[in-house]
């Protein structure tokens, strides 16, 4: 099976450790993963801010880069949702606007092959115990697109519960949005910050050392709020927890 890592532009630029963790984890599970160097961005920020036409070339570029792989794995619920939920819609809209079937035909092959990391582990590889060791108290925030667009369900929890040394504690109001929302965080910064502060207070009330999620964009917002509110908690991507073993655990 030819598996490609779609890391996302945010992770590539700001969170390379998440990418290294995915590679380490998948390699340990016997998957040979490739990182096509031509990859850039799925176009989500463009699309969701209202620049659908600007997002189209990015979607085409994504399809060009990834079409030949059997599976495309991404450690981001929202970028996964962009491909799986919104690429088909972009194709339909192009058709409805009389621009023919080309865009739909180009995008169609990558849609069903794109998996968010925890989905890939549970559904494709069929594992819940990935052999990780992580001696910390952890609370899990299910990000909105992972939760509602992709329907990740309890996959991330099952993976976390199988990690040795990890104590998973319930996050109050877990399913409420953290307030990131891409450009929303800047356009409506007051509301966004208030949502972030509530999320962080809820997380703090659990007494966990670590708040984990499957999306670094949300973690950037939550983590930035945590340091500003001086909570002492750490935001950690789930890939890094699942990748860590005895020696590497921090």
């Amino acid at each position: 099976m030819r598996v490609a890592l779609f890391l996302t532009c945010v992770n590539d630029t700001l969170y390379p450790e998440t990418g290294r963790a995915v590679v380490r984890l998948l390699t340990r599970l016997g998957v040979e993963v490739d990182f096509p160097m031509a990859q850039t961005c799925c176009g989500q920020a463009h699309y969701n801010t209202g620049y659908r036409h600007e997002a189209e070339p990015l979607a085409r570029h994504f399809a060009d880069v990834f079409t030949d792989y059997d599976a495309i794995v991404t450690p981001s619920g929202s970028c996964g949702a962009m491909v799986r939920e919104l690429y088909p819609r972009m194709g339909e809209r192009a058709r409805a606007e009389g621009r023919g079937d080309t865009l739909a035909a180009v995008l169609a092959p990558v849609v069903p092959k794109t998996y968010e990391l925890t989905e890939f582990l549970v559904d494709v590889l069929g594992v819940t115990d990935v052999g990780a060791y992580y001696p910390h108290t952890v609370t899990y925030h299910p990000t909105c697109h992972g939760l509602r667009s992709l329907g990740l369900g309890d996959r991330p929890r099952r993976l976390l519960e199988a990690v040795k040394g990890l104590e998973l504690v319930e996050l109050p109001g877990a399913e409420e949005c953290c307030g990131f929302g891409g450009t929303f965080a800047v356009k409506n910064s007051d509301v966004s910050a208030a949502m972030g502060a509530d999320k962080v207070r809820n997380a703090e009330s659990t007494g966990a050392d670590v708040l984990c999620a499957a999306d670094n964009s949300c973690l950037m917002h939550i983590g930035g709020t945590m340091t500003r509110l001086r909570t002492g908690m750490r935001p950690v991507h789930i890939a890094e927890i699942l990748a860590s073993t005895g020696e590497a655990a921090v």
């Binding site: 290294r20 463009h46 620049y51 909105c144 509602r148 007051d190 930035g224 500003r228």
Partner: protein
């Protein structure tokens, strides 16, 4: 739309006040969380919820697709039952019709049962200008009216008020409108309710004209339906001699039997009740029983324009249950007033910019009043994909494009103030379709990382005012990959 909301600032500005008001946020948080938990339980009781939701969606879509036919059917059925149907293209027309109808009765007072359509068109203000006083009789509406306030929730228009504030409003304002509040009124719910009851009873017994809205209009029989919890609506609908109902054209359902679906989904979604306490239905006039004269004013006011939009038209399925408000994290912090219309929350964010267009500052900002978390779509009993419509309207705001306004096909210009953003988006698109350029940018960011400020200038200040920025790593992932081929040379 409503005159009361004209000149509202953009959503972020209006929301800032609410975010800073701890009491308001506390009130809203408590109210919305209580009702959302109850709703979840009420919905979970039904094992066919998904089927009901789909049925509601289908019925509404079917009706909207054949609205021309059903509107004619409504007119025929209402006329046959002794009523008169009037058509209003916009707010001014509707207000003129209603004012004329009231004047023809020779009355200068009317009682009203909760009708969002009449608030949408600012009917009370229009009547007042003609010397006609309109009294709201729904308890929450009464509180809003007495407090010279605006509604902030679809179902609980006074959700932003606490009991102490309500007592003060009753004490100081009731006497100006009719029977004063009892001496020594306290803020216990029973006393407040009794004060309102006495005050309203006097109005019900005196008024010769009632004005209502409707939750549904059944095309095959010409029957109007109002669902409510207090019973005040029933008084308004039965006691006056003349009843005038102002109803948006999207409220039609084809058959009597279709109510079966909505009378299950609406109460459970809105008040978390299995069934609402009062369901009133009336068909034209009925001899000596109830109003002798019945008028139905069918209101367009932007609805056919909305219907012309393939993506946005689903907003017309809305049955105004307010479930989307109660789960919305943005509504919970920003409060209802920030949305600048009688329709707040997620549904308001997609309905107002369609009914009113995206020209004003507030309407252009509403599609952005969401983090696109999707909670509203998940609870909506008629499955309106609110995030999809939000993104669609964002596109209209930043790019312009074809639309229908006032029945005419037009090409909208982009709203003002998005030029810099558009340029940034285009630049980003260029970098993202040229991986080499992206890489150069990343490397530059990494090399200069020690120089990066932790707070940002320009629009970025909105971020760094409350959140720290992540540090730029020494090496972007793609450079690590190239150097190590995925760690194969041992470098992890």
């Amino acid at each position: 739309m409503s005159g009361t909301f004209v000149g509202m600032p953009a959503f972020p500005v209006a929301a800032r006040q609410a975010v800073g008001n701890e009491t308001l946020r506390g009130n809203l948080r408590h109210a919305t969380h209580t009702i959302r938990d109850k709703r979840a339980r009420a919905v979970a009781e039904l094992d066919d919820w998904a089927a009901l939701r789909e049925a509601g969606k289908q019925i509404k879509d079917h009706t909207l697709r054949h609205l021309d036919r059903y509107l004619v059917q409504v007119e025929e059925a209402v006329t046959a039952a002794g009523g008169t149907v009037h058509w209003a293209a916009d707010a001014d027309e509707a207000n003129e019709i209603v004012a004329r109808l009231v004047e023809e009765t020779g009355e200068s007072e009317v009682v009203k049962v909760k009708s969002m359509a009449t608030q949408e068109i600012a009917l009370n203000e229009a009547l007042e200008a003609r010397g006609i006083h309109a009294y709201e009789t729904d308890l929450a509406e009464l509180i809003v009216q007495l407090g010279k306030d605006r509604p902030s929730h679809i179902l609980v228009p006074a959700i932003h008020r606490n009991r102490g504030e309500i007592r003060d409003i009753f004490r100081s304002e009731m006497s100006e409108w009719g029977r004063p509040a009892p001496e020594g009124l306290t803020d216990t719910p029973a006393e407040l309710a009794e004060a309102a009851r006495l005050h309203l009873r006097e109005k019900f017994l005196r008024a010769k004209v009632g004005i209502s809205g409707a939750n549904f209009v059944v095309a095959e029989t010409g029957t109007l339906v109002v669902v409510e919890s207090e019973g005040n609506g029933r008084m308004c609908l039965t006691l006056p001699e003349t009843l005038i109902s102002v109803v948006g054209i999207e409220k039609i359902v084809p058959r009597w039997q279709d109510l079966e679906v909505f009378l299950q989904t609406l109460p459970r979604s809105s008040t978390a009740e299995r069934m609402n306490p009062y369901t009133s239905m009336w068909t034209g006039t009925t001899g000596e029983d109830g109003p002798r004269t019945f008028h139905l004013v069918l209101l367009d006011n932007g609805r056919t324009d909305t219907l012309a939009d393939e993506v946005g038209r689903q907003a017309l399925r809305c049955i105004r249950c307010s479930a989307c408000l109660n789960v919305c994290p943005v509504y919970e912090r920003a409060g209802g007033h920030a949305y600048g219309s009688v329709y707040p929350g997620p549904i308001g964010a997609i309905l107002s910019p369609q009914l009113r267009g995206t020209k004003s500052e507030i309407d252009a900002s509403l599609p952005y009043a969401s983090s696109l978390c999707g909670a509203c779509y998940e609870v909506c009993p008629v499955a309106i994909d609110i995030p999809e419509v939000l993104v669609h309207l964002r596109e209209r705001v930043v790019q312009g494009g074809p639309a229908v306004r006032g029945g005419n096909r037009v090409v909208l210009k982009p709203a003002k103030g998005h030029a810099a953003e558009r340029a940034a988006m285009r630049a980003a698109q260029w970098a993202f379709t040229h991986p080499g350029a992206l890489r150069t940018g990343q490397r530059l960011a990494s090399r200069t990382r020690r120089l990066h400020p932790r707070t940002l200038p320009g629009p970025g200040r909105a971020w760094s005012g409350t959140r720290d920025l992540p540090a730029v790593p020494a090496e972007p992932f793609r450079d690590w990959w190239q150097r190590t081929r995925g760690g194969k040379d041992g470098a992890k």
